[in-house]
Amino acid sequence: MPAVTETLDTVQSVTQSGYKWGFETAIEMDLAPKGLNEDIIRLISVRKQEPEWMLEWRLKAYAAWLKMEEPHWARVDHPPIDYQDLHYYAAPKKKPGPKSLDEVDPELLRTYEKLGIPLKERALLAGVDPDTVQQTQVAVDAVFDSVSVATTFRETLRKAGVIFCPISEAVREHPELVQQYLGSVVPVADNFFAALNSAVFTDGSFVFIPKGVRCPMELSTYFRINARSTGQFERTLIIAEAGSHVSYLEGCTAPQRDENQLHAAVVELVALDDAQIKYSTVQNWYPGDSEGKGGIYNFVTKRGACRGARSKISWTQVETGSAITWKYPSCILQGDDSVGEFYSVAVTNNYQQADTGTKMIHIGKGTRSTIISKGISAGHSNNTYRGLVRMLPGAAHARNFTQCDSLLIGDRCGAHTVPYIESRNLTAKVEHEATTSKIAEDQLFYCRQRGLSEEDAVGLIVNGFCKDVLKELPMEFAVEAQKLLAVSLEGSVG
């Protein structure tokens, strides 16, 4: 079956009530003892066979973290996190480094199959022109707890000059690139969670697109938290050299557990002259049950630097999972005429809390940014958009357009919009529009009169509301995201 179809079928087959990615994989784990200290960091570094400079970088971050405090400005609420009660390293036991897919533990392959993630390299559409097939192929890096277990299509990508590999491997194989760019967008002491991540990150993806190359296929990383009482701290670094293009997608799920699990990722993007990076996320971490028990705390720092002139970074996110989401994918628009985009759908249901948005920092002349945020709240949830648009003195004729819409389902949920606008250049222009609406009773009745179930009706109306964002996703994933939206809102009406 074509891989994408397979993904979609899997998503389709998991409709109807509840979180269907909540199963656990029974696999033998290599687990570091609970707790965080310099020894644990050394252990991670040894396990990853890292060079000395990497360990030093981590220890520096750790020292900074010790002096920092957990931020409390976001509109989210949770019991204190005991950072000493977590495992900071969890990896499936295996023979060192599977060289090919045949060597990957079959139990892991089955897990990803169940999740609908194609880890087999095969033509997507049999009997179709190979050129078009190439376009729809997706290379996948699968990260299971703290390690990358497989990366597909590496050979094809290597021929194009593209590097797509686990970041732990990049640290060993491409140290010059990693040393040059790691922490150059999100410095080690940027914020509490970024510092923690810098100290203990275990895996994630590394992408390098050389000058002038259009990446021949979509790149995708699929994160899965499996082990109990572990934090997941992945680190992603994408470098697009002058004139290159890449589209990257990340997805994530976790088993259903009563405890809360911490996920604190850092993503750094660098775009040089005329380069374009499109970064899409379909975030589906376990959100907790309908009473608000369990679920992932998703505290993520994502930032892109448009360093080169006319470069472009575009963030698209569909956030349906996690008990708490704290995330502000941002763009630093440094290169003249560079472009930043943020398209977001954030859905909260039951007792979920999301505080998400973006920062657009306009430094260069003629820089432009667009923010389209669609927040949907149902149940007892709280959904906050928090966005900053900053026009610095050099940002002559820069422009921003922000559209921020909230949709409420029921009357026990909350939607909040917190825009911050700072302009220090008189020629810069900032536009902000915001709306709040409810799904009207008569809209639901109209759909049901035509034969749709109440949940399908909500799904249809919600997808209509999110259309401007969903159309920014790569086609295959847009369909997946639509299904996900419907599933996340199940039980939200009536």
Partner: protein, 249 residues
């Protein structure tokens, strides 16, 4: 056959329907006329299961099954279709996609195969053409930015595609131009047959010239005050409701 007995219903505690008795045999088209505010739309909503209306007495069966105990979508699956007096806008929802989702939901509940996008578009284009509707209406968002007449025609297009067994048309003729009126009437006439019946709510004799009803009923103050043949509509056109209502009171 639609069989309504002693139906009473209220909204926000205010009684609107006060004991309706009405039988529409299979294959027949009945017209409902009556002054503004008399409860005609309410009757349509109650038959199709809108939640804010509370049924306080009476029964409604359709082909022997109890309609009042069913959810709106179950009634739709049983073949009930309501063309709204004021069709609802669904921003961002593509008309063709909406219709296909609805049709497939109905087909599923009837144990029929779903139509894929290509099969559906073929059907939808053919029906649009038959109803002389511009094809781009299928691509637009449901009723968003449609003119008054276009909204009504869109209701008729939905009816033509969903092929109900009982169609309730609530003032579908209001706001239509002369040509459109004829097309709409033809649309309903095309569905006429032994297992199709319709309740046509209207204020105008003009529609009934094209769509000759088997019976005409007059609804006033929540009751049917007079029933007759097609000639009753013509009579009302001349004399108005006042005499009738006084007579009934």
């Amino acid at each position: 056959m639609l069989d309504i007995r002693g139906l009473a219903a209220s909204i926000v505690g205010k009684p609107i329907l006060k004991g309706i008795d009405l039988t529409v045999p299979e294959g027949e088209v009945h017209a409902i006329m009556g002054p503004n505010g008399s409860g005609k739309s309410t009757l349509g909503y109650v038959l199709s299961g809108r939640e804010d209306y509370e049924v306080t007495a009476g029964s409604v069966t359709f082909n022997g099954i109890d309609l009042l105990g069913m959810e709106p979508e179950q009634r739709a699956a049983a073949g009930v279709f309501l063309a709204f007096q004021a069709p609802i806008e669904l921003p961002g929802v593509n008309n063709a996609n909406f219709l296909r989702t609805a049709l497939n939901a109905l087909r599923r509940s009837r144990g029929q195969d779903e139509l894929d996008a290509v099969q559906f578009l073929k059907l939808a284009r053919a029906e649009s053409k038959r109803l002389a509707m511009p094809e781009d209406m299928l691509k637009r968002n449901v009723n968003v930015g449609f003119s008054g007449g276009e909204k009504k025609r869109n209701e008729v297009l939905q009816m033509a595609i969903l092929r109900p067994k009982l169609a309730i048309l609530d003032e579908t003729d209001s706001g239509l131009d002369i040509d459109a009126l004829r097309i709409v009437a033809d649309g309903v006439n095309a569905l006429r047959g032994p297992d199709f019946s319709a309740l046509v709510i209207t204020h105008h004799q003009r529609l009934l010239d094209h769509l000759v009803p088997n019976r005409v009923h007059v609804l006033a103050h929540g009751r049917i005050v007079r029933s007759g043949g097609p000639e009753l509509a013509k009579e009302l056109e001349k004399s108005g409701y006042a005499g009738l209502i006084a007579e009934a009171a």
